[in-house]
Symmetry: C2
Subunit: 245 residues, 2 copies
């Protein structure tokens, strides 16, 4: 029995999210598990680093599963990529120690959130960005983002009604970059509350748009009141960039 680790990229546009669920639409997990089953003849249940929501993309999702297949990892990957839809792709496959688990072994994950800030709508980037037409001051957003790193209670940025033991997480790195009409938020943390990056993005947009001062942003973070923070930015701007173990 070997333990396999795969790095997977996908465009989330046409999926109901990563995780296989009853009574939902297509999921990335279902395509991966069914592809593996067809090739190896084994029914696998895979673990994933992050259960991305409907419409969310990934450049570096990581999955792991156990297999008795005699296929070389590279052979399995090629066969799987031939069977997967064009918007899902396995980038890397390796045999790893039996103790490795794609979700429980995670040290940190990096997500990006892309905002397309222009009066004209995006064209080529449209599946991957949130189009925000109104003025945004990227410099204000950049400075506000500097208030986030550290081991803190991020409950102001958690979707209401999420059942977790603790809302304390450690953000190791959080930065805002501007590239032409695009403003990108990049967050690396040991874990994320539900909708945390999208709620941070929505609140940074309020700051960039002049509806929240830096002091106000700090108060939102410290006050821990979800209602004081900005709206949840749409799923399509979010991408799971990389997972660290």
């Amino acid at each position: 029995m070997s333990n396999l680790r795969m790095t997977v990229a996908y465009e989330g546009t046409n999926y109901a999210g990563f995780q296989r669920q009853a009574n939902t639409g297509l999921t990335i997990q279902a395509f991966l598990e069914e592809g593996i089953a067809r090739i190896t003849g084994e029914s696998v249940k895979l673990a994933a680093a992050g259960r991305t929501d409907a419409g969310v993309h990934a450049r570096g999702q990581v999955i792991s599963f156990h297999s008795n297949s005699a296929l070389e990892p590279g052979t399995l990957q090629r066969a799987l990529n031939s069977s997967l839809p064009p918007d899902i792709l396995v980038l890397q496959t390796a045999e790893v120690a039996a103790s490795f688990h794609a979700r429980y072994s995670v040290k940190s994950k990096t997500y990006s959130y892309r905002i397309y800030n222009d009066r004209l709508r995006p064209l080529f980037q449209r599946p991957f960005v949130y189009h925000f037409r109104h003025a945004l001051d990227a410099e204000t957003m950049r400075v506000a983002a500097l208030l986030l790193p550290g081991k803190k209670d991020f409950r102001a940025f958690q979707a209401t009604g999420s059942p977790v033991k603790t809302t304390i997480r450690t953000i190791y790195n959080c930065r805002v970059e501007q590239d032409g009409p695009e403003i990108r938020l990049i967050v690396n943390a040991d874990g994320f509350l539900y909708h945390m990056v999208r709620n941070i993005a929505g609140t940074l947009i309020m700051a960039g748009n002049g509806r929240l001062s830096l002091a106000g942003f700090q108060q939102v973070l410290e006050g821990g009141d979800r209602r004081a923070a900005g709206p949840t930015a749409p799923a399509q701007g979010l991408c799971l960039e990389e997972v660290f173990y």
Copy 2:
């Protein structure tokens, strides 16, 4: 009566090409003309710098048409962009001299051709690149491309059976760039024969793949025999980048 010039970008994937034709599928021209008609009440016949084929993209197509509409160019553009499908976008609109014609006034056009050279298929770039799995030497392609500029007879790179008066064109600039797994051909010329960029791309791929020497590439160009050149590279890698007047 004013003469309007618009710069238009589109993803060509879902279209039967730019030019409106009987008995074909959706065309970019039909969406633009019908959008303008709906907004201005005028039936316009627009001119375009380049009649891109089915599946070919544009970042800087230029169109022109005459209108009696009292709408400001910016207002017309906003209304048109609201009515167009998400894969067509007007980037710029200006009133120009009556003598300007999007096609006849062209001084030169720049096309790009993107090759994705990796054993793994492309994911996010897949609508915009030609996936070539086998080894390519970008340096050989770069040097071969340097043989092309100048006022020359390019009939070796013309689709067979194209009815044109002369197959002499001037390539002002032709270069090959590598960027990770991507090899990009960029060609600026005063005009293009039918399928010229795609045939040049197909022949450069032969050179990069070791099936044609630099001397052989030179012979293809000088011999003027279409059958000696490489195959026509697929439409999806091609993009009309910019038009100069």
